[in-house]
Assembly symmetry: C2
Homo-oligomer: 338 residues x 2
DNA sequence: CTGAAAGCGCTAACAC
DNA sequence: GTGTTAGCGCTTTCAG
């Protein structure tokens, strides 16, 4: 392994200058900088992140803690974060807190705290105050995406507003019997999004003079299969069945589309369906939806971190920006049947 | 940040003993070991990975290089690897080589080689000999999953055999006009799987005395939408249309199911469809498939690495094990229409 | 089985 | 703008 002193020797400067030239901290004359870069390239030199990290206290690495890898929303956030990190010269170490609490606390105690990361992005995870405190004590910036973390900068779309928008779209088309497929309780634990979306839905109904009915609600697990089951329940009732379904995620909405089809219903003639996300497949299914932009959320989270880790960089000032969302009308929603 | 010397003081031993007790290397009396562990726990001590890595040359971290995050196969492999790594006390740093070659070489030159990882798992990636050599020179073990890397231990199912199995299932049911949806050329670049699957398909046909016809083949991009398009092509022809479709992935098979439905065909009465993967949604779609076990592949890759990184551990001896696959017959395949 | 001490490779004051 | 040098916090010979 070629070290910094070999580069220094070849470039004819001191190791300190090599370090400065390569890291960009401190001033170096353009001439030496060029010599150093040339020497480094020639020798195939790369800094040892351990040595550098030990000496400087920075690792150029951030931890991303995420509960799922195989769901569109989560992998999109991850992708966005990874890309933004790469762009900034950072590595990303991944902590997939799939399982139980044991695995989870082990991650916190032994992994994140090993000084391996400079900062952490927590996706849809409700950290305890103790966990937040611990990171804070270590001086590690923390930003949340999509989950409510008390006392921490968190990026979330306004779930109430999003749900309201979707519901109002249906209302505006003339629907009155609008069902909702939301999350089950289990999902509400870590991110209250199911509850918020339901609140937005109910608020929109009430504002339109419609009373939310319990039998117009069905819980599911945010998967296509779950949405399919739920929609069958909802659409299977003989009388007064809903003319529209608002699902709290596109995957559940797609399940609903398949369910409607299997029940012999034609969409949007017999039933309108709308979701939330703008999933990759939404276009394919002709699904109307309220788009959120998870890749962008991931990138955004990283930018906030960068601002704290490397002040003075030209990072955008993301403080005020509310997260965008946008109604996308496709062919799954229309006026209700006469 | 509490350091090793504080632990040593509290435990009444030297730092050397603390290090040995906590890392498990070298002998320590049970008594001191207990004292050390107790002291460490009391103080909330966690080793600094940088210092430890610098001194020892090991980082307890492995890099995973992967081209997609949002595809079932890939996220499953990643999940398996992550879990196995966590179990072994390792971190996983993620390199998502989504883009072009530039991004890719930058990853290799600057990230992987920063001594940040002890080993790397390359998923469906064809590394150049130079890249392999470079890792080899650094003494970093490398194992591939699902991609052909010359001179490197690689885990792949036998794609030819898998495709043959799927095709033979259709043949055994009595089908003769069996179409195939495979990968397009772009996909063949990094992992020759599309070609291999096509070869297995054609071989099975020939063995059954059926001549593979070019118009019974349609390329796609491994997505549901792509499979949908391809199936429409295949099933749309007026005469002599296929009675069965073998898609090279479950996602494309699901697209085919939807296409058949939209063409007014009933499955499996009018057309049989089979895929490869055993995707999470296969059950939901009633899709017959040849299961592969990507999570297991990810775990397996890690085990191989562990064996090299920590010889003497009780890791399984995975040398000979061929990767398993398994026909799963559901409701999407049946005898052809009379 | 345990302790003392010499680094691991780099960065950051501090001088010049 | 650049060099000198003292650590960063741990692991690991080498003695004992």
């Amino acid at each position: 392994m070629v070290g910094i002193d070999e580069v220094a020797k070849l470039a004819g400067v001191s190791t300190a200058t090599v370090s400065r030239a390569l890291s960009g901290r401190g001033h170096v004359s353009p001439a030496s900088k060029a010599k150093v870069e040339d020497a480094a390239a020639r020798l195939g030199y790369v800094v040892s992140s351990n040595a550098s990290g030990l000496a400087s206290g920075r690792t150029r690495n951030v931890g991303v803690v995420i509960p799922f890898l195989n769901r569109w929303y989560f992998s999109s956030v991850l992708e966005g974060a990874q890309q933004a990190l790469l762009r900034n010269g950072y590595d990303l170490t991944l902590y997939n807190l799939a399982g139980d609490g044991r695995e989870r606390s082990s991650v916190f105690e032994h992994f994140l705290l090993r000084q391996r990361v400079d900062a952490v992005v927590a996706v849809s995870l409700e950290l305890t105050e103790h966990e937040v405190q611990r990171l804070h004590d270590l001086g590690k910036p923390l930003v949340g995406v999509g989950g409510p973390i008390p006392g921490v900068r968190t990026l979330t779309i306004d779930d109430v507003a999003v749900a309201r928008l979707a519901t109002e779209h249906l209302l505006a088309l003339g629907h009155r019997r609008i069902a909702h497929i939301g999350g089950d309780l289990e999902f509400d634990l870590d991110f209250h999004l199911p509850t918020n979306r339901r609140l937005g839905y109910e608020a929109a109904l009430r504002d339109a003079g419609v009373d939310p009915e319990p039998r117009m609600f069905a819980p599911a697990d945010f998967t296509i299969a779950g949405g399919y089951q739920a929609a069958k329940q909802l659409l299977g009732v003989p009388h007064a069945r809903p003319t529209a379904i608002f699902a709290a995620s596109d995957e559940m909405a797609m399940g609903s589309i398949l369910a409607a089809r299997d029940l012999g219903m034609v969409m949007p003639r017999d039933v309108s369906i709308i979701g939330i996300d703008d999933h990759d497949l939404a276009e394919f299914f002709g699904l109307s939806t309220v788009a959120q932009f998870p890749r962008g959320q991931g990138e955004h989270a990283v930018e906030i971190l960068m601002e704290q880790l490397e002040p003075g960089t030209d990072a955008a000032q993301p403080a005020a920006t509310p997260l965008p969302f946008e109604l996308r009308v496709r062919s799954s929603t229309a006026v209700p049947p006469a």
